[in-house]
């Protein structure tokens, strides 16, 4: 995977003729994919990318008096751990998305990159992407939103606030003789039966 995201790569990846027309006027200088700061197996996101993602998560899944915030639950880092298991094209698209989201503020009608926005400015920025006139923006926003809320609500720490009791395993299945590590009897009599 290329470490630097060139303008040509971005445009090719976006596949948007409309954005291509705009490209001559857009400041893409901020769209570098920075070198990962850490070189472990978990270095799927560069430090700057992680910062952008954490800021997005802060606005999409903030905390309140009963629910922890997405960043308190480490949603961005959980995604960084998941990213290497995706196919390389999806990984590249995600890096491109973050680069454009942060580096092309004009798409949100602003001159200030996302991570430098005030809280209300960041919300407006996200709204511009949510309702954007380019498919890329709406797709990008929905991708980020689904990622943030999907990982957040998969975390048991988010469940108390919504009254979700969690899985059966080790809780409501206790007493059924269903120890997860035991073999179970064959209940379907037909698996090995002859059929005429």
């Amino acid at each position: 995977m290329a470490e630097t995201l060139s303008r040509r790569t971005i445009l090719k990846g976006m596949g948007s003729a409309t954005l291509y027309l705009l490209s001559g006027t857009l400041p893409l200088a901020g769209c570098h994919r920075a070198k990962p700061a850490i070189t472990t197996a978990n270095s799927a996101l560069a430090t700057t990318e992680l910062l952008t993602l954490e800021r997005v998560i802060e606005r999409i899944v903030p905390g309140n008096s009963t629910a922890p915030s997405g960043n308190a639950l480490g949603v961005a880092k959980a995604f960084a751990n998941l990213l290497p298991s995706l196919d390389t094209r999806l990984q590249e698209q995600f890096h491109q998305l973050l680069a454009i989201f942060e580096g092309v503020p004009l798409l949100a009608g602003s001159l200030t990159p996302f991570t430098e926005q005030s809280p209300s400015g960041a919300d407006n920025y996200l709204r511009c992407w949510e309702q954007g006139w380019l498919d890329l923006q709406r797709q990008g926003f929905q991708g980020l939103r689904r990622l943030a809320v999907g990982i957040y609500y998969a975390d048991p720490s988010s469940w108390q606030a919504i009254g979700y009791p969690g899985p059966w395993i080790g809780q409501r299945d206790v007493g059924y003789g269903l120890d997860n590590q035991q073999e179970l009897p064959l209940l379907n009599p037909n698996v090995y039966a002859s059929f005429r």
Partner: protein, 518 residues
């Protein structure tokens, strides 16, 4: 036949610990172990053939199934369920594990309807697959999978809401048939059944195949198909060691090859090898059953749409269009926290406010029988691209389904109905329903997903328009068969596992008959 343990992961015929390059020679090489491949392997092994069943994904047993989405989705789904259509408008779900998508489905069983088979015969030149001709295969699949009716005590609160609304609208709310035995109603079918009550392929047809002598090779990926003249001679790729994760080369020489990777992976393999495509149809005619969820906040009524059997009720009044209206199925659905939050078009403070009503959500979706196909093609690195866009006819069906579900939920007493659309329409009364007609369904405006992909190697007798004949044999090759949903000439509108398994059974029986004649 020998009696086997419940699952086949430790069976002597399951091979998952290679120590070097693996070279196999067998009668039949079946690639893919889902509703088509597992059945093909079992039928052909039962018929006396030597079968190697290859599966790209791991053999995941109930001991690993912990009912947690964050662990199970990456383990069971291709690309951790993050694959989308090229335009980003629809999430495309596809499992990769022994048993394929049957491991993560909701065990819904529809027999292939007579009208569908007639349509395939009359409009698409399919021969020998009438309701009568397919009946023995359908009956066998129903028997092995122990298909039965969902019964009244199993109707969860989510389905009760749907049935109540349907009755008020004079629609015919029905209960699904399913392939579960002794279901505990924990509700976690979509991340694999922790109790082995769902009768998916990895605990039914796969062990059955092994009991007849088939050999199973999990975590085995085929990349190359070697052709000589009108025959495939060998398939090659790699196999991964279950414990060490070390990868070794693998090759399989066989008399017959049966590709059953599903409507994305099957055409991808053929396209990558430039075979069986003289018609130019491989990868084309992709149907996806676009599916659009709706959530209803039922006010004070506690629903807990994550409890009980995940999908219990449905409405098929408008599966077949009436006077230009319809072409969709409405199904109640499981709504766990991640899924519900993904469907709600909300974020920030608003998300928390809505999710505070989580236990009061009823959930269902519109599943359309799509008419405008897309296609699968390979990007330069060989990864399949799902090139699919909703056309205006199919978008109209989704709006009609949205409206019917919203009206149904209002009739059932909903406080507010949420359509997962970026315009965040809020429907609290009948007069609000008109807003649905105005909703744009441009990519990423609304939440869409596809759990059923079909049609990319369609069958028929005309080799210029179809990839395989009505017996599943490739027109271009003498020993290549395809037996999965990619052979469907059209979308079927119904959950497809029984249709796929029945057609695979039918193909296998014919193949065995032909073999005994020769």
């Amino acid at each position: 036949m020998t009696t086997l343990p419940f699952t086949a992961i430790d069976h002597p015929n399951t091979f998952s610990s290679p120590s070097g390059a693996v070279q196999l020679e067998t009668d039949v090489c079946v690639i893919g172990s889902g509703a088509g491949g597992a059945v093909m392997a079992a039928e052909l092994a039962e018929g006396g053939m030597q079968v190697a069943l290859l599966e790209k994904g791991p053999y995941v047993t109930r001991k690993q199934m912990n009912q947690r989405e964050r662990d199970m989705i990456p383990l069971l789904f291709e690309d951790a369920a993050s694959r989308t259509t090229k335009d980003g408008g629809m999430v495309v779900l596809h499992a990769h594990c022994v048993g394929g998508t049957t491991v993560v489905n909701n065990a819904i069983c529809f027999d292939p309807p007579a009208w569908l088979l007639e349509e395939w015969a009359k409009q698409h030149g399919v021969v020998g697959i009438s309701e009568r001709e397919l009946a023995p295969s359908v009956a066998k699949v129903n028997f092995i999978l122990n298909v039965q009716e969902i019964v009244t005590p199993e109707i969860n609160a989510n389905a009760q809401v749907m049935l109540r609304g349907a009755k008020a609208l004079n629609l015919s709310g029905k209960l699904f048939r399913h392939n579960r035995t002794g279901c505990l109603q924990s509700g976690f079918c979509v991340v694999g059944c922790s109790y082995d009550r769902k009768q998916n392929m990895h605990i039914t047809y796969v062990p059955r195949a092994l009991s007849f002598g088939a050999r199973l090779y999990p975590e085995t990926q085929i990349e190359l198909l070697h052709q000589e003249g009108k025959y495939l001679k060998m398939a090659s790729g790699f196999i991964r060691h279950r414990q060490t994760r070390q990868q070794f080369p693998l090759s399989v020489k066989a008399k017959l090859f049966v590709v059953c990777g599903g409507a994305i992976s099957t055409p991808a393999l053929l396209l990558a090898n430039a075979i069986a495509n003289s018609s130019g149809q491989v990868g084309k005619n992709l149907y996806c059953h676009p599916t659009a969820p709706v959530l209803a906040d039922m006010g004070d009524e506690v629903v807990k749409a994550y409890q009980g059997i995940p999908q219990v009720s449905y409405l098929d009044d408008y599966l077949r269009p009436v006077n230009g209206f319809g072409g969709f199925l409405l199904e109640s659905i499981f709504a766990g926290p991640s899924l519900s939050a993904s469907f709600l078009p909300r974020w920030g403070k608003d998300l928390h406010e809505q999710m505070a009503h989580f236990n009061h959500f009823a959930a269902a979706f519109v599943q359309i029988r799509d008419e405008e196909p897309g296609r699968i093609w390979l990007d330069p690195s060989g990864i399949p691209v799902v090139d699919y866009a909703l056309d205006s006819r199919d978008a109209a069906k989704i709006r009609q389904g949205y409206r019917m579900l919203a009206e149904l939920y209002l009739q059932a007493g909903a406080r507010v109905v949420h359509i997962p659309h970026s315009a965040t329409p809020v429907i609290t009364k009948k007069a609000d329903l008109s807003v649905i007609q105005q909703l744009s369904l441009a990519p990423a405006k609304t939440s869409l997903l596809s759990a059923h992909q079909m049609g990319t190697c369609r069958m028929g007798e005309d080799p210029r328009r179809t990839v395989v004949d009505s017996r599943g044999k490739a027109h271009d090759l003498e020993n290549l068969y395809i037996a999965d949903a990619s052979v469907f000439p059209t979308a079927i509108g119904l959950n497809p596992q029984i249709t796929v398994a029945s057609i695979a059974t039918h193909f296998a029986r014919q193949l065995l008959r032909d073999r005994s004649k020769s």
